[in-house]
Subunit: 515 residues, 2 copies
Amino acid sequence: MSRHWPYPTNCLNTNLDRERVVVLGSGWAGYTLARDLDPKKYQVVVVSPRSYFVFTPLLASTSTGTLEFRTALEPVRSRRTKVEFFQGWADSVDFVTKTLRVEEAVENPWQAMALTADGREDQNANQLEQEKGAEPKKGKMFEMNYDKLVVAVGCYSQTFGTPGVKENAYFLKDVGDARKIRNRMLSCFETASLPTTSEEMKRQLLRFAVVGGGPTGIEFSAELHDLIAEDMAKIYPDLMQYYKISVYDVAEKVLSMFDDKLARYAIERFTREGIDVKTSHHVKSLRRGSPKKLQEADGDQVVKDDTSCYTLELQEEGEVGVGMVVWSTGLMMNPFISKSLAKPYTIPISSAAVETPSDAKSWNISTHPRSGGIMTNDRLRVIMQPSDQAKVGGKVNGRAIINDVYALGDCAIMENSAYPATAQVANQKARWLAKQLNRDTIDSNAFTYKDLGVMAYVGNWNAIMQSSGGDVSGRVAWLIWRGAYLAKSVSWRNRILIPTYWFVNWLFGRDISRF
Amino acid sequence: MSRHWPYPTNCLNTNLDRERVVVLGSGWAGYTLARDLDPKKYQVVVVSPRSYFVFTPLLASTSTGTLEFRTALEPVRSRRTKVEFFQGWADSVDFVTKTLRVEEAVENPWQAMALTADGREDQNANQLEQEKGAEPKKGKMFEMNYDKLVVAVGCYSQTFGTPGVKENAYFLKDVGDARKIRNRMLSCFETASLPTTSEEMKRQLLRFAVVGGGPTGIEFSAELHDLIAEDMAKIYPDLMQYYKISVYDVAEKVLSMFDDKLARYAIERFTREGIDVKTSHHVKSLRRGSPKKLQEADGDQVVKDDTSCYTLELQEEGEVGVGMVVWSTGLMMNPFISKSLAKPYTIPISSAAVETPSDAKSWNISTHPRSGGIMTNDRLRVIMQPSDQAKVGGKVNGRAIINDVYALGDCAIMENSAYPATAQVANQKARWLAKQLNRDTIDSNAFTYKDLGVMAYVGNWNAIMQSSGGDVSGRVAWLIWRGAYLAKSVSWRNRILIPTYWFVNWLFGRDISRF
């Protein structure tokens, strides 16, 4: 059933004297832009399968209980903004009629979960049933017009087709992932403390592997180590001899975005805390159950194929029994870009300004040859090119700009730029675009990124920080780290709750209730 | 696989100079007793399928977001107590050898959920899969000796065999239930705000039915009304015309434990707030989907069999389309009592003191003829009677006391008493028993219950309170209500967090993020 919008709906007051800006996505780019646009000037409508924004830098803290999950969330609907919201997947867009097809997704079973494939089609059904007990079912469709469209749908998690990772790894992209990680880690300890659990199985359950040596993987490892060293040590003293945290990365070094000095500092800290950092390591597969050698082994240490742990297979180490694998590496282009937006057009169309003419009949949006991201110009407007060249990128014969369609965030790449796919870039693009649209100054300005530096928490109240102001590491960097994220968090509600949890957990320890 | 305990397990330091007290259950009775027992005198071991204690009076607040879920929880394992813990179901007990068989339940899929039937056997598998995507699988077994056994396993939720209730109703017994209710209520509003949702479906989705007019049902209705009136009204202003809260009870009056005056005050408040209280109403069934009459109806208002809502069938009103039914009535005896403890014994056995001799060969624990609860004497010790009379209760020919087995909480009934199955009674019994065991004074004392009164929140910052000190209602009672529960909450962590959330939510409104 498809209904055209405006269709009698009471949650939306269509205001005809305003342009309607439809924002696809509620992440760093979409959520920020929607909040910054002037509601007097624009009717802002966010369409996203997720009803909230996640303050990603604090996810690792919530996954270990340093913070409560909700302190990293901001609902899109707020009594303090005029932003309108529909929970749904953008299904397709027509640049000619300027209409959008939306699939409603209120009961979206993947809500709060990292997506590793097109949720509505390829997502592993078993995994989904394990997690949510839900059947992949298509939601109702409805259509919607836009005056301006902003594509900020973000990326999925990349598993590089490694067998078993999609089904068995734990990701750290959304709050539901953080919740799964926290529950899993706690149940590993609880299971290890049972009299029915053998020594060898204790060792496996309490071996935690983190794949990916970027800031997320490093910060999660650091937070996990803090939790174990500060709290689990008091609650399960006799299990401390068994636990182990290992960080694996295919690259030769971790934290590659930091200077060698800071990266080395981080690794030294990890070594001192007993966290292994294994670079140039390759994951071959991940499956449920114990390593074969242990199943075959004799004696009391034998571990029958027990599904209570996982087996991580590494090219360099062979099979390793682990309690949990946290996968924090790689981005996969959102299928919405490659599938839904791939539709060819015949130019001229009203909304597209041809910059370099071409006699080509069929045109497509231009995508990045490697990442597959949408190419935009320095106004963040989507570029079109003749279909046969759309994937070439750079200067080609035939080029048009869709003036009322913008793309930003991890799914978009600005031409002639090498900005990383980070929250900082997404956030700056969103603030810049909102400002230009509010002031109608976009035609006289071009976006430029101002690198404010990078930070990472490395555990035991230490952090590293690199910026134009110079490098800082240790306790001071940690204080700046906390201060910065506290200042950056969106709502006053969270500005009150976050330090309260920091204080309460420092005083009494983190909560280990599992539900 | 069954292993005898002590078996090499590192989370337990068996201390042979202390008696081992095994406590079954982590609710008001079990958790309180375990904390109060002197660790220098006893080795306290809690066995429960749930790793935390739930402060039940605050559950309704957490289900509506007035408080964060964790503020109603206390983990059984704490760095501040010496209580040892195994997450498992007590499977069977042998009073002669004083051993206990435990089925480990760390991955217990029903963790945090109200049980409506024997979780490990009769629990509806579909429901379980819907909720947890888990297969009912039997956990490993291990055995354990006890010197003293305390049975405090509590009760299940009673659905009186009403068709569809077990599968489709929302309960409010554990924190997982509260979480489900909160997510469901929020998604009802989100779905109602979609352009694809018809007027009639909005009305159904936003009709919330509460079955059971006891304090829990009334407090939940009040909290739900507060949430809608204070927050949803600002976030979904155009949906306010559709919502409706109705409380159903089979009895002629609600809040029967209160004086008529206070009960009337509560009902007047509800009427003023637009909450229907429908007494003498009988639920016939509950199913997924819309009422038939609407599926058959014509025109734009037709609602095809849409699984997004439920149909509640009442003897008095016929089919009513609702967004959610919260079932807060009735207790069902824990199957552990009726099944696992039903094993017959041949007395004399060492641990049982015969008070009234009998030539009966087979003896059983004495259970209450109506509720099926374990009968105890005024020392909370379990009573045995000849099997053919075990269910008769009261004075019979043949009676013995098992000196080292105690029963308290909702699963136990003290003979010649009419104490209600409330947290207050369970809590007082636990405190009393801990005191007697710590001082070895149990043989010279008998338990008596001191009624401290009853309280209930009735919405809009008003409560009712009835105690020996007299009746109070309105704002003052509300202040006492909050003060009392704040004072009663177990940990300082929650004593800090609870008022923080009261304050933050009063200031900024409740959080509506759904995950």
